[in-house]
């Protein structure tokens, strides 16, 4: 319990006051950050769970209704649409990981100007999702958009992607993949930089190349990059809100809602201020997310102990 990394047993002569001050020091450094983080992040999680057992409009008194919000969710068609869309998001969003790897492999060369190419490929990630949403809204817009025109040119009839219940979620996910692939690409480019050249050479002498080399020699060395890419992609997929809000507001007929957007709609929009019901949706989303978060934390904890 001393501040030193290789704790020498505290000599008996150290005054008691000084020792307890040593123990207090880290908490003094932690205090401001920990206070802010608790008030705005940790405590609200529990408050939300509490609110989810109530009927509340955000202004008046809260009325305890037990599990009624959750049993309403159970029969709520819109909830299942959102949940289904979240699963589609998660599955397709993970394509960003292999796609990012492919682009990284393509760009991992040393030709003239390659640094600028790498930055420009990374570009979409820097732009806000609101702008990405608007860019793709234009891209898909009937009559105006490049994508619409391309489809019309190829098939003869254009498809109003964002107004079609069948395609709308895929259209939004494609917009989301654009910056996400860029992010995964930069993770892999950094990872590839650190791949041990001697191992590659040794494998090459053994006759490994192409896919086999990638799978057996390179990918194992890229594991840290893959881990982070999967973490940020899963979190990104479950957090998707901005694009849905900007591109379709959940429409047409609520077919592109995801849980995060449906929650917002229930708690803070013209549908009425149903804070309790919204909180219940948030708790479900939080529960799904916690499965993944616990996994990540468990792995980080293990690495930390091993280190």
């Amino acid at each position: 319990m001393t501040a030193l990394p290789h704790p020498a047993p505290p000599p008996a002569t150290v005054p008691r006051a000084r020792r307890s001050r040593r123990q207090l020091t880290p908490w003094l450094f932690l205090a401001p950050g920990l206070l802010m983080f608790s008030v705005y992040v940790i405590i609200p999680i529990f408050q939300s769970i509490w609110v989810s057992f109530h009927d509340w409009d955000g202004l008046g008194a809260m009325r305890w209704i037990g599990l009624a919000n959750y049993s309403e969710l159970w029969w709520d068609e819109a909830f299942y649409t959102s949940l289904k869309n979240n699963i589609i998001w998660l599955a397709l969003y993970l394509l960003a990981v292999p796609a990012g790897l492919m682009i990284a492999l393509f760009l991992n060369q040393t030709v003239r100007g390659i640094r600028i190419y790498k930055s420009l490929f990374f570009f979409p990630f820097v732009i806000s999702q609101v702008v990405v949403g608007l860019i793709f809204s234009w891209f898909y817009a009937p009559g105006f958009g490049l994508f619409y025109a391309l489809i019309e040119w190829v098939t003869g009839t254009g498809v109003a992607l964002l107004a079609d219940e069948r395609y709308v979620t895929y259209g939004i996910i494609a917009a989301g993949l654009w910056p996400q692939i860029a992010y995964c690409m930069i993770l892999y480019l950094t990872g590839l930089n650190a791949v041990a050249p001697d191992q590659i050479e040794a494998a090459r002498l053994d006759g490994a190349k192409g896919w086999r080399m990638l799978w057996h020699v390179v990918l194992p060395q890229l594991r840290p990059a893959t881990f982070i890419a999967v973490v940020v992609t899963v979190i990104g997929a479950l957090r998707s809100f901005d694009l849905v809000s900007i591109m379709t507001s959940g429409g047409p007929f609520g077919s592109s809602r995801v849980l995060s957007y449906y929650m917002y709609e229930q708690a803070l929009s013209e549908y009425g201020y149903r804070m309790g019901y919204g909180a219940a949706i948030a708790v479900v989303l939080f529960g799904i997310m916690m499965i993944f978060i616990s996994g990540f934390i468990w792995k980080m904890w293990r690495d930390e102990k091993g280190a």
Binding site: L30, S48, N108, S128, L187, G278, A282
Partner: protein
């Protein structure tokens, strides 16, 4: 190096690579290029059905129009007023927390650390109702301060993760030597550790700038109206007003995207170092 350096391949392969590279880039950035081009297309072109051809002239007046006929300048200004204090606040707090968690060994150290890490990943919606309520109670609803306070608190999670790992990698001998000399803990923090974490401060500053500038959800939850909303939320409402006026939407989008893009190109090394933290063992 993997894949094999292109220089070791046939001249034909090298030539192909040099041709394919720019083509791939153009395809990759096609939506963005389209919007950039639309933003300088005169509205007459759109009316005449010239959506994809060369613009009949470069209509930079679209940008002037956006500033004249909408509160976009105010929105951009609000974004700066939110983003810059958050940058300072979150980085300052995390220097302290990161130092505490990296330098001292105490029983709850790992637990506190993982609390910061886990909190950083939670869905925003689980915080929304209580945070909005708290902000209203503090009298800070629809103020820049209210939004900035939340952002500072939330970003402290990610920044602490970053700072703690960065400080942990510093040579410990420096700190121990100072202790032996009788330097106080605060002086160790201020005179020894802080100068060494300058690269981390730079990386975090650009990252936080980008994250906060691009935030949309909290702006929608905690602010309303042009006097406080940042440009992301502002663009959303302008998009509602400018239905199908794509030359204006495009110009507004480009303007909103510009500050983080400039930040990225100026501080590229730090930006990527921050984002790829942990991608290499």
């Amino acid at each position: 190096m993997f894949p094999r350096p292109i220089q070791t391949m046939s001249p034909a392969a090298q030539r192909t690579y040099k041709i394919v590279l720019p083509i791939m880039l153009i395809l990759w950035l096609l939506p963005l290029l389209g919007v950039a081009m639309t933003s300088v297309r005169p509205s007459g072109d759109l009316a005449a059905g010239n959506y994809f051809g060369i613009p009949s002239r470069l209509a930079f007046e679209n940008y002037a129009d956006v500033f004249r006929n909408s509160p976009l300048a105010q929105y951009l200004w609000n974004s700066f007023r939110i983003t810059i204090p958050v940058m300072f606040g979150a980085v300052a707090l995390s220097c302290l927390t990161g130092f505490a968690l990296a330098v001292y060994k105490f029983r709850l150290s790992l637990l506190v650390f993982f609390m910061f890490v886990a909190g950083n990943f939670v869905p925003f919606q689980i915080l929304m109702v209580p945070v909005r309520d708290l902000t209203v109670d503090l009298g800070l609803y629809n103020t820049i301060t209210g939004l900035a306070l939340f952002h500072i608190a939330f970003q402290t999670g990610f920044c602490t993760l970053f700072m703690r790992n960065f400080i942990k990698a510093l040579p410990r001998e420096l700190i121990e030597a100072a202790r032996v000399e009788g330097v106080t803990e605060w002086q160790i923090f201020w005179h020894i550790v802080l100068p060494l974490v300058r690269p981390a401060i730079a990386a975090l500053s650009v990252l936080v700038f980008t994250f906060i500038w691009n935030d949309y959800f909290w702006a929608m939850v905690l602010t309303t109206g042009a006097s406080t909303q940042p440009v992301t939320a502002g663009l959303n409402s302008l998009n509602g007003q400018w239905i199908a006026a794509w030359h204006l939407v495009s110009a507004g989008s480009i303007l909103a995207a510009l500050p983080p893009v400039l930040m990225f190109f100026m501080m590229q090394r730090h930006f990527i170092a921050g984002l790829t933290l942990g991608a290499v063992k």
